[in-house]
């Protein structure tokens, strides 16, 4: 088990290195485009250009350029924005990360709990109206665009019904750091969590239900019933536990991409200064250092989340543990 853990860690480092090289080549070593001019900004004086070229080492061979860029990203962390000269990129992302992390984590808790409930209940009542209703709700959840849902949620909680007892607790749009006020943090994010999780609840409940239905035809489920176990124990202890394997791998991917900036629409609608929004701004102003930094940031999270999923696999599925 320890060996497979170490192996996985080694792979993670290797993958991160590969991604960083790729991203660097795409943004800074594209033939025919001089990154110096772009970093120096429009109408920069020859002196500035020379200074930038020297600072980033663009007059030196590619491996050196790569090393300089990585040093600026990870060690000195003084990569500066191209759109707003002087604004340091890395601290900006570090500032935005907790917002995105809070949003994605809270949403994930809701969608995991609700979808497991929905999927399991639907599978238990397979073929009845309960099943059909839950799955129809799931389908609706999948089909609703998140920005529209967010706007409607805002309209209801911020404007239309804000003065009723039901929504008077909802604070104005924006983020409250957890360290400042845990209750305020919770209140500020609750509506956005629900909005974000609706899509995932739909997807996950449907996936889990179909996995449970497939697994219920397996021999070991029949064995469990033949032992005299109650239907709920058969479903939860034998069925759900076995079906969680697909669920976890899906979750790893989705959660990682949310942390890496995939919650952009939710962040914009709810006025949260998260990584997604930052990336969006960087892209719209073609802010190369910023794009580079945020892509690296999301890559790190996607790769880390995948490594984490693999570790969870080791616990969930003994067959993986033996490398079979």
């Amino acid at each position: 088990m320890l060996k497979s853990l170490l192996q996985r860690l080694g792979q993670t480092v290797f993958v991160l290195f590969g991604i960083s090289v790729m991203v660097f080549l795409v943004f800074f070593a594209t033939p025919g485009a001089d990154p110096t001019a772009r970093i120096a900004g429009k109408n920069a004086s020859p002196a500035t250009i020379a200074k930038v070229r020297q600072e980033y080492g663009f007059d030196r061979p590619l491996p050196v350029q790569y090393a300089t860029m990585m040093k600026k990203l990870f060690i000195t962390q003084d990569l500066t924005s191209y759109a707003n000269r002087g604004e340091k990129v890395v601290p900006e992302i570090i500032k935005a990360a907790p917002v995105t992390l809070s949003l994605a984590t809270g949403g994930a808790v809701i969608w995991v709990v609700v979808s497991i409930l929905m999927g399991t209940v639907a599978a238990a009542f397979r073929g009845t109206w309960v099943d059909r209703t839950l799955m129809a709700i799931g389908l609706v959840g999948v089909s609703i665009p998140v920005f529209w849902l967010g706007q409607v949620a805002n309209l209801i909680t911020q404007a239309r019904y804000h003065d009723t007892w039901l929504f008077s607790w909802v604070p104005p749009l924006g983020y409250v750091p957890f360290s400042e006020s845990p209750v305020g943090w919770f209140k500020a994010l609750l509506i956005s969590w629900c909005t974000l999780s609706v899509l995932f609840i739909g997807v996950y409940a449907r996936v889990l239900r179909s996995d449970l239905v497939t697994v219920s035809g397996e021999d070991f489920m029949r064995t469990a019933r033949a032992k005299g176990l109650s239907p709920s124990r058969v479903l939860l202890v034998h069925g759900l536990r076995t079906s969680m394997i697909t669920f976890v791998s899906l979750f790893g991917m989705d959660f990682a991409q949310l942390i890496g900036g995939g919650a952009l629409l939710t962040e914009v609608v709810f006025g949260l200064q998260g990584v997604g929004r930052l990336t969006y701004q960087a892209l719209s102003s073609l802010d190369l250092p910023f794009i580079m930094a945020s892509v690296m940031y999301s890559a790190v999270f996607v790769v880390l989340a995948n490594a984490l999923v693999d570790v969870v696999y080791l616990f969930l599925d003994p067959r993986v543990r033996d490398g079979r």
Binding site: T223, A226, K227, G228, H238
Partner: protein, 337 residues
Amino acid sequence: MAGDAPLLDVRDLSVSFRSGGRDVPIIENVSFAVCEREILGIVGESGSGKSVTAMAIMRLIDDPGVTLRGSVRFRGQELTTLPQKAFRTIRGREIAMIFQDPMTAFTPVYTVGWQIDEAIRVHERLSKAEARARTVRLLGDMGVPDPERTANRYPHQLSGGLRQRAMIAMALSCNPALLIADEPTTALDVTVQAQILDLLRNLRTDYGSAVMLITHDMGVVAETCDHVMVLYSGRVAERGPAAAIFSQPAHPYTAALLDSIPPLTGPRPTRLPSIAGAPPAPLERPPGCAFAPRCHYAHAACDILPPLVRCAEQEVACVLPGEGKALPPRMTERVEA
């Protein structure tokens, strides 16, 4: 309760699936009895309804399109109308079941010992440690080497033979009066098969359990069973004491099945006799004798469904004995267990 009442008494059990707006009979009016400590073999080709019979007795078929008729009495108690909740105390405790494929019959994510402990603890108030002690003892009884270590292993880490032993250990964990074994040796290789059959044969002395052994292998029946029931296309073709059926089969189908066992002594036949054709699908089952289309002795009288009639020691669903044209005793030597 009368002392000689059978342990399990199945009368006119019929199972049909609803398909395309009509009921398709899978098994029709199957009746048989299993006495205490008896080994009954149920033999038939694939699709003859052997497994469905077992599943129907255990009420493990929960497809809404399935209808079940007839009566299943276990120690005088009617099982077909028993509420599910009450039935659960019988499943695993009074009637246990082992399945064909030990590869897939254990939940892959729990250790074998955990699953046997679970079976024990669902029926008896025992602590985890007590349950585990019994699990280890059972595994040892089943001839599993190093039972303590094996109990902590996952199903995929064990060989097929070990898994089937663990499966039998799990089935025996609450000392069931009846063990239904659905093709327990089909997925195993021949040497392991013989060991598992030995194990099953000794259950009646070691655990006092009766066994209902479902198989398609006449050789397995010959080695193991006291009584035999031959199913053909969902109907009973013949049933009776194993010795009688092996020495003088009364149904042409049974006779043909026996002819297809390679002889143990004498010259090897270059080609074993086989039965031409295939059993009819449930939808195309003829109203008369289902075996008639493949039978050398078929004649006009076979167009009417023959009832089970007594013939020597066994009962047979064939018109031949009634017409005074019973099949001759088998010339080949008796297969000794």
